[in-house]
Every structure is written in C-alpha cells, then in structure tokens.
Symmetry: none
Subunit: 201 residues, 4 copies
DNA sequence: GATGAATGAGTATTCATTCAT
DNA sequence: CATGAATGAATACTCATTCAT
C-alpha cells in the first residue's frame, strides 16, 4: 500500500511552501520549515527541486500555468473582444482573490530581485500579455476598440491595473472580495476616465 | 575648507548604495561594498543609518519625497484636471526614466517582503495616490471626467499603469526613452481602449 | 564500524573546548578554534550546543555532575562525619589537581558574569554545599562537631577554603601536587587556627 | 572658576564605572556608557586610563588599596593576634557589605580571565594575604594559635572563607547584612568545626 | 527514493580606540 | 585638556545543500 505517490509528495511540498512563505516571506522561510510542514525530510525537497528558489518559481508556474491554459480555452467561447476582455479581468481578480496566501506570493514575494523578475517576465507573464494583446488587436480590427490602439502597450496597461488591484488587496487586510471590483475595473479599462464624448472645450 | 560635511557623508553613502544595490540586488550587496564606494569605513554607515535595510528605505524616501513635494506645487500651475493628469503621467515616467539605477531599486529591489511593502504603502505611496485621486475628483466635478468615476479606484488603476510601464522599462534592457510613451499612456488612461462613441451593437 | 558516534562527537567538542579555553580564555577562544581541534565543522557545534556559552556550561556540568554523583556514593562508605569530611577535602583537591586545564576553567573562566555565577550557583554548587552541610549536621548530632555549629555556614566556609586552595594552585604555576595539602587543610577545617584547648587569658 | 579638577574627573569616571559595570557586567558595559554617566566624552576616559580594562583594575586598586592601608594602621592598635584576626574578619565583611555594586565587581566581574586574576593576585591580594599570615604567625608565636600552623596556608584558607561569604552574599539577593556573620565566621576560623577537646574515639 | 547529520561559506554589526580640531 | 566623529577589526551563528546510509 503506497502511502504517498511521488507526485503527491511534490504537491505537498509546494502546498507547504505557499503557506510558510506567505506567512514569513521567502527569506525568513527555511527549507527545514517547508520540509516539516510537508512531512518530508529536508533532503527530500532536493529530489524534486534544484534549490530553494526553484520551489518559489514552481509555485508561480503551477498557478499561472493553469490560469493561462484554462484562460485560452475559455476565451474561445466568448464572442467579441469586449466580452473576452471582461472575462480576463474577472478571472484575474477572481483567481488572485481566491487564495490570499498564493496572492501574497505572486504579488510580493515573487518580486525579489532583478534576476528573478526578468526570468518571470520572460517566461509566463509574457504569454499572458500576448493573450491580452491579441484580444485588443481583435477588438481593434472589429472596430470596437480604438483604431490607434497599440495592443502591446494596452496589454501592459491592463496588466498593470490588474496587478495593482491585486497588490492593493493583498496589502489592505480588509475582507473585501477582490472580484467585486471586476465590473468597475473593466469599465475603466474600456472607457478610460474621461467623459465620452468629451465636452468640446 | 572641510573635505566632508556630515550631510555630505550621508549623501555619499546613499549615492553609493543606489549604484551597488542596482547592480547586484539588495541581498547580494554587502555593507562593506557600499562603504567602499562611498569612501567611508563600514562602521560609519551605522552613524547615519540604523541598519542596512534603513539605507534602502532612505533611498526611496529621498526620491519619492522630492517627487511628491515638487509635484504638488507643479500641479497647482495647471488649469484643468486633464492637464494635471497628463503632467502626472509625464513626470512619473520622466523621473523613473531618468535614473535607471534608482528605477531598478524602486521597481524591483524595494518590493522585498510583505512587511516592507506595507510600510512603503502606508508611507509615501498613499500620499501619491491621494494626489491622483484629488485630480480625478476635480475632473469629475468639472464634468470632464465620467460622472460615475470612483477617484480612489481610478487612482490605483493609474498608478498600476504607470508602475507597470516603469517596471517593463527596467526589465527590458532596451534603450527606449520611457517618457516617450507619456502621451500615448495618458490617452489610454483618459479614453480607455474602447472606441468612443461605442458602435451600437 | 562507525568512525564517529554522536556521543563521541559531543565529547570531542567538549574535550577540545577544555584545552582551547584553558589556553586562551573564553572570550579569546573562537568557535572555529574549538571546531578545528575537535575535527568537526563550525556548524556542527550548534547541533550539540545552543551557543558558545552553553559549551562552557556543559563543561562544568559534566565535571561537577560526575564528582557529585560519585561523591555521594563514596561518602556512604565512610563511618563517621570526620572521615567523610576528610574524604570530601581530599577528593575535591584531587579532582581539581588532576586536570589543570579543567581547573583553569572551573576556577577562573567559569566566573564570567553575575548572570553566569548565579546560574552555576543555583544549579550544581548548591547540591554540593548541601552534601557538605549534611555531613556537618551529622557530625554535630554525633557529638564530634561543635554543638553550636551552623551546618550551612560551615559548608560555605569549607567550600570557600577548598575553592581558594584550588584557585591558588591554578594561579601559581608551580608543580606542587594540590592533593598533597589535603591533610593539612582538613586539620585546619576541623580544628581551626586556635590552640585547643585555648590558653586561659 | 574651575568646574572640575582633574582628580575630580578621574573619580567621576571610576564612580560611573562601578555603577555601570555592576549593573550589566564588564563585557556588556561600553566605554560610552561609562562616559555618559560620568558626564565626559568617550575619548576623555583615555586621558586617564590606558584602556577599558585598566578602568576595572583601577576600581579594584582604589578599593583594596584603601582597605589595606587603613587595615595595617588599625591592626597595630589591637593587642593579641585573636583580636587582630577578628578585626580582619569584621572589616572584610563590613567593607564588602557596604557597597553591593563594588562587591559585585570584586566578587564577580574582576574574575574574568587567567591573565586578569594573575595580575590581581600578584598585586594587591598578595599583600593582603601577607598581612593575615603575619597575624597568624604572631598568634602562633604567642602560643594562642596552634604550634604546627602554617601561616601562609592558613591565610589562604581564611581569605577563602571570607571571599566565599562575600560571593555568597552577592549572589543571594537577600537583604541580610553581611557583617552580621562576622562573629560566627571568626569563631569558625579560630575553632574549626570539631568539638574541642575532641571526644576520644 | 528518502533520510537527516554534517558541512562551511558568508556578513551585519558592535565598540574600543584614535586623533584632528 | 576635552571632544566625539570616524575607524575597521573581529566573530558567532544560520541555513542551503550534500551524501553516506
């Protein structure tokens, strides 16, 4: 009778890492703490991860990977760029808002160093930005988004807004539901702050 | 003629810290490295700062403090919320874009830990968000911004966009000028991504 | 055949500490010096001891612990309080006189600070004083010691004499054998300095 | 108008040192702490003392020096070795018992290292032991002390008893008066623990 | 695969002491 | 004499990582 399958053990380590790192931060969390919570020996962690930092990276990859794959499929089901964009906003905020421990890690702990951020940027976030940019381009071509819109710049702006909302929610310890802001945020992204049409001046 | 005044020494330490920390990151930069570049003894740093972390905090305070004070005065000279908002965008991107070393620190190194970010958030960033929110409220009351606009949410969104632009610029090692995007970014903030007026659908 | 058992390693660290600390004193002895002589890594010491100071305490505990346990059994074999007292004197001086390095530690290095001495005093020395006091009470009840003798005060006085003899021997670098004084010291403790019976005056 | 005479300043430093070192121990007391309490600059201490350790030595010298000089004169006034011995006991305990801060220093802080103790031993304590030994020799020659008494050994024993009483008093935080034990201690020194004459056995 | 004892590199910080004023 | 800003040597301790079992 196998008590633990290998995959099980790897998941347990990641699950333990989320809790411990969210609680104390990456630098104050020791490998031994993660190992203890996961119920494995310190050395066992090195059978599944190259080093401590890779545990952190894997945490992010697991979360964002799921999010992106799932998101791509879902988007195909929506007709029209606006609906797609609204879905992106809602899913982003919902996902982050579901797991505060994970949110602490993605919004704070993951942004340790230049080296680290560059790595993340190149990896997953880039794919996410591309998806958003595609939606923007699609909307522009459909004529529902501005003709002069730069999809790449727009994607970064949208990501910046969503990221800031998430960080703000993590830092404020309030119990508001992050996804409650989805509609208003989407409206802002779509319509900007200015009145439309602008008053002639 | 005194070779060094006390203020001089403190500034030299901060200047040295920017360079060293930007180059290697906070954790890989030793106090000895900062001291050597500043031309002081290791112990001297502790005459001016409580510990290594306080050097990092002071770096940020010096930079953002200047920015906010200066900004408030400047804004008073602009008539109309739109002009003010455009000035905020331009100055934010210009400031960040002027000193890549400092930008690395504000966009990356400063975001070390939950504790750290909370501290920053409570302190200076909160004041910055308030200024933006005031401009948004002013514009809404003037009738040039949307009637239903939430100034606080809007301020966070704008900050998120600017912050993401800054981070993106730091991570991309390209030699583009960050402030070159100011106009386009401001347009996006003002008008959103959607065409205006929206096509009836 | 295991090269090192865990107990072995702990003992080796203690043995190394005696030599190094006796040679240079506690403060001038670094953890690295002890580790090197013990043939272990610096960090290994912290697997067995909480900190450097605990190594010193353990040294004392090991030595005095043995002495007290062994002594209690031995005393049971002696008939009469005088014989027991003479045995205490002889064993105390013999033990100290056997290992000059250990003696340096117990007579000098261990007396670092008020905190330290209080701790020692509460711990082992108190038990030793009790044993002596019991012997004095027994002798008093047997009628061979003075009727008015306060066993607790007497025990302290005796300990003071033995401790001073030990310290004096450590400080004088002569090669005299400390236990050679046992008989004379015991006579002094038993009979005091005054002639007996005192000349009427 | 001289606010402070040089001697004044040196005394103030020593007075400050007694308090600070008694409170925290020698190693945890910084030169800056002593300077602050004395109301002088850190560097000023080095005008009067070679280094921090010399402050500690001077403390002891000042105290024991006074004691010995005063004692020698006083002893001349007593007729008979027993009276002299009783006076030594009483004065030793009285002096220690008068100033707990100073007592902490002489009984605990001064016993730092082999080097330190050897220095003290050679210096003042040796003179004190000689005085006691002289009294013992005098008593022996007068016929009131045992004929076989070794004055040097006896002096050490007596010093050991007095020293242990003093240390015990420092470590027990009780408010007993140390000099209250003088008579009983002197009786013990004179008569030992055994009944006199001993019962034939 | 799993363990966990052992390793040893790595560094912030203190504080006695100096010396220019 | 006095100051106190500046110095810089010196070290206990942690913890990621390894590897013999």
């Amino acid at each position: 009778m196998a008590r633990t399958s290998p995959g099980d053990k790897k998941q347990r380590i990641l699950d333990a890492a989320v809790v411990e790192i969210a609680r104390r931060g990456f630098h104050l969390t020791t490998v031994a703490m993660i190992a203890r919570r996961a119920g494995v020996a310190d050395g066992t962690i090195y059978l599944y991860f190259k080093n401590k930092e890779e545990v952190l990276v894997s945490l992010f990859d697991r979360a964002l990977g799921r999010f992106i794959e799932e998101g791509r499929d879902r988007l195909a089901g929506f007709a029209g760029a606006e609906a797609k964009l609204r879905d992106i906003v809602e899913r982003h905020l919902t996902l982050v808002g579901q797991d505060r421990d994970l949110a602490i890690i993605t919004q704070v702990e993951l942004r340790h160093s230049l080296h680290f951020m560059e790595e993340l940027s190149r990896a997953q976030v880039g794919r996410y930005l591309e998806i958003i940019a595609e939606v923007l381009a699609e909307g522009r071509d459909e004529g529902i988004f501005r003709a002069g819109l730069d999809p790449v710049l727009g994607a970064k702006a949208i990501f910046g807004i969503l990221d800031e909302m998430a960080t703000d929610w993590v830092l404020s310890r309030r119990n508001t539901r992050l996804e409650g802001k989805a509609r208003e945020v989407a409206d802002l992204i779509l319509g900007g702050v200015a009145r439309c049409p602008r008053p002639e001046n």
